[in-house]
């Protein structure tokens, strides 16, 4: 009795798809509810937009067969145990060989041993250094601090020579720890003084105490790093209200509207940040229109990475002619480098840092906020 309901659902689902066409199932594992859902929905939407695009053109030609691409999304609530459940379900119930996701270090590290054993290919996103460790079937399909921070800091050194003393602020979790050490190294390498380093709890809402401490070190730039955009806004405002007059940078994920809304227009003047895609480009406009058909919340730059990832995965499958042999598909993805994405010229790298070339390098965008509006002032090409 216990197991019959899901099986019935599975059968119904199977019957719902057209009988004459073959289906290629792509799994998505990401939080769809709870904190982190905004990112998880970007994964889901990115994969679906790419799949819809292929399906609308009549399907994906693999060898002599044509496949309809079916995206199966499971919510893992950002919890490791749920991720393992979802991955198990995808691999063993749905027969999925390719997974987009998961998000978050705990999720990836818990899922990796089992996907690795069955050679399931994962196109993942997590900031942890361990993501690509001991693995043959994981790609990281977006740049992390390690990739984009050094060029941004170098740009800052050149273009804002007055800045000398930097204070670093990041959330107290895997992502924050890792990105803060990268920031620390990058700023020091470019001759900045790192005068303060602070971590905060994600649940915190009042940052005045931590800012008081930070401001006592007299910084002229506060680097907000991987602080979630929803928290970055309040931090900026509270720092201004405590009398801080210096620069803000956030080389680690920006949502301009969210930050300006929460911080106030006057407080964000001159803010510099990292974006994965240009919000004023026609690509953004197109993707946003597609996104609106799937989810009703605001789209972030995250969607680009997963749209692109799904796209080059499908291209590799079509090129190799196999929907089962993940090793062949993996090699094809690697060999396609460098390639074009919606964002621009991208390639695989990371051998020096991670031991394998499965880290995505893409152009990144330096955004400056002026009068409450974000403008991309520089497109920074990736460096190996």
């Amino acid at each position: 009795m216990k197991f019959s309901l899901p099986s019935i659902l599975a059968v119904t689902l199977a019957l719902a798809t057209p009988l004459n066409a073959e289906t290629l199932k792509i799994g998505v594992v990401a939080p769809q509810t709870g904190p982190g859902a905004a990112w998880g929905m970007a994964l889901d939407a990115g994969a679906r937009i790419a799949a819809n695009q292929v399906n609308e053109k009549g399907g994906l030609k693999v060898g002599d067969k044509t496949y309809q691409v079916d995206v199966i999304t499971y919510d893992d609530q950002y919890k490791a145990a749920e991720t393992v459940t979802a991955v198990n379900r995808l691999m063993h119930q749905d027969g999925v060989r390719f997974i987009i996701g998961p998000l978050g270090a705990a999720s990836l590290l818990a899922a990796k041993p089992i996907t690795e054993r069955s050679q399931t290919l994962m196109l993942s996103n997590t900031y942890t250094v361990k993501a690509l460790e001991n693995t043959q079937y994981v790609f990281r399909v977006l740049p992390t601090s390690r990739e984009f921070v050094p060029p941004f800091v170098a740009w800052l050194k050149q273009n804002r020579p007055a800045l000398k003393r930097v204070a670093l602020l990041a959330p107290n979790d895997e992502t924050g720890w890792d990105s803060q050490s990268v920031q620390d190294a990058a700023y020091k390498a470019n001759g900045f003084d790192v005068v303060a380093k602070e971590l905060f709890e994600r649940k915190q809402t009042d940052f005045r105490a931590i800012l008081t401490k930070l401001l006592a070190s007299n910084p002229d730039n506060i680097e907000l790093d991987t602080t979630p955009p929803s928290i970055a806004g309040p931090i900026i405002r509270q720092a201004r209200e405590l009398g801080y007059k210096g620069q803000f940078t956030k080389f680690g994920g920006v949502n301009v509207a969210e930050i300006v809304d929460a911080a106030g227009k006057e407080n964000t003047e001159g803010f510099l940040g990292y974006l994965g895609a240009d919000p004023n480009s026609k690509e953004w406009e197109w993707l946003e229109a597609q996104y609106a058909k799937i989810h009703k919340n605001r789209m972030g730059d995250f969607t680009f990475f997963f749209y692109d990832a799904t796209k080059f995965l499908l291209e590799a499958i079509a090129k190799t002619g196999t929907v089962t042999d993940t090793t062949v598909v993996r090699d094809a993805i690697e060999k396609a480098s460098p390639f074009d994405t919606l964002i621009g010229k991208s390639f695989w790298g990371g051998k020096e840092t991670y031991g394998v070339n499965r880290q995505l390098y893409t152009p990144s965008f330096l955004v400056e906020i002026k009068d409450g509006k974000g403008t991309v002032i520089q497109k920074l090409e990736p460096k190996k």
Binding site: K2, F3, L5, P6, L9, Q32, T33, G34, T73, Y74, D75, K79, A80, A81, V84, T85, N88, R89, M91, H92, Q93, A105, A106, L109, A110, P113, T128, K130, N134, N172, D173, E174, G176, W177
Partner: protein, 313 residues
């Protein structure tokens, strides 16, 4: 009569729990069954405390201590799994034994809140003491469980281990409560003052149960760690205990089989709601509310009242 039937029913459920996934032979169901087992063991530890009329919100913290102990001992100290598994129970039991006389002086809601704070402290220590526990990075590459040199990598073999341990734990609790301990414990829940006036050291027994429940929670933590091979602090927070409590309430908090049955019943719920992922939380909450209203004694209470028994186990 009821007593014998409930025993047969319990054994049948346990055998079914083990065999159905093995017969279906699909890793996903095996995996679900393993998670059910681990959650059920944690829920049994909550049940033990409910048995003496107290609710402890520190159980997930004890589970975490067991998980970290087992993971670090096997991975870094080279301790064999069998011993580490035992220590995963013994260490939290010892901690509970030490703090028990302090914590257990409070009762009722005060005890609930005190254990809530204590559980938070445990998790925060995992976060803060980075050199030992790895902080928010957690601990990865935990070796798989192995019994007598046999590595339990295949989910089915891990399920067998889980099912056997769950059965042993349930049997031990059953035997213990059927005997003299059960007499003392029932008295503690119903009228502690009178029990003390008859010469029973209530505090000592309460601490014993607290310690025992920490032992069991620790074992569930060890299973969790070796099954997932990765642990991090957030898995052992307050909501994990609350979920274990909910399993008790759904299954029937006054029955030893209640927590296990609750775990069996709740496991498919997310599967059923999966199609309406964005409505999932609301539906889950409503289902919980309806269960609370409709089945105040849990499912076992419903079954037993249908059978006309008063049901003491």
């Amino acid at each position: 009569m009821i007593r014998r039937w409930s025993f047969v029913f319990s054994v049948a459920t346990l055998i079914g729990y083990l065999l159905i996934p093995l017969l279906i032979n699909q890793i996903f169901y095996t995996h679900l069954a393993i998670l059910i087992g681990i959650h059920a063991i944690l829920a049994v530890s909550v049940y033990l405390m409910l048995k003496i009329g107290q609710l402890s919100l520190a159980q997930a913290g004890f589970m975490g201590i067991g998980a970290y102990a087992s993971a670090l001992l096997t991975r870094d100290a080279g301790v064999p799994f069998e011993l580490a598994f035992f220590l995963a129970g013994a260490i939290p039991a010892l901690i509970a034994g030490v703090v028990g006389p302090l914590l257990m002086r409070t009762k009722g809601v005060h005890f609930v809140l005190l254990t809530f704070a204590f559980g938070e402290v445990i998790v925060l220590i995992f976060v803060e003491w980075t050199s030992l526990f790895g902080g928010n990075n957690g601990i990865s590459a935990i070796p798989p469980a192995s019994i007598l040199g046999l590595q339990l990598i295949a989910p089915s073999s891990f399920l067998i281990l889980t099912a056997i341990l769950l059965s042993i734990i349930l049997l031990c609790c059953h035997v213990a409560f059927a005997g003299d301990l059960g007499v003392v414990v029932e008295g503690l829940e119903r009228n502690e003052a009178l029990q003390s006036s008859l010469g029973v050291n209530a505090l000592a027994y309460r601490c014993l149960i607290f310690s025992g429940s920490a032992f069991i929670a620790g074992l569930s933590g060890s299973l969790y760690a070796h099954y997932l091979s990765f642990i991090s602090p957030e898995a052992f927070g307050f909501w994990t205990t609350v979920n274990a409590l909910i399993l008790n309430v759904i299954g029937g908090a006054q029955f030893l089989m209640g927590p296990f049955l609750g775990a069996l019943l709740l496991a498919p719920l997310p599967e059923i709601f999966r199609e309406w992922v964005h409505y999932q939380r609301v539906l889950y909450g409503v289902a919980l509310l309806l269960l609370m209203r409709g089945l105040p004694q849990g499912f076992l209470g419903l079954i037993l009242s249908r059978l006309g028994g008063r049901g003491n186990r």
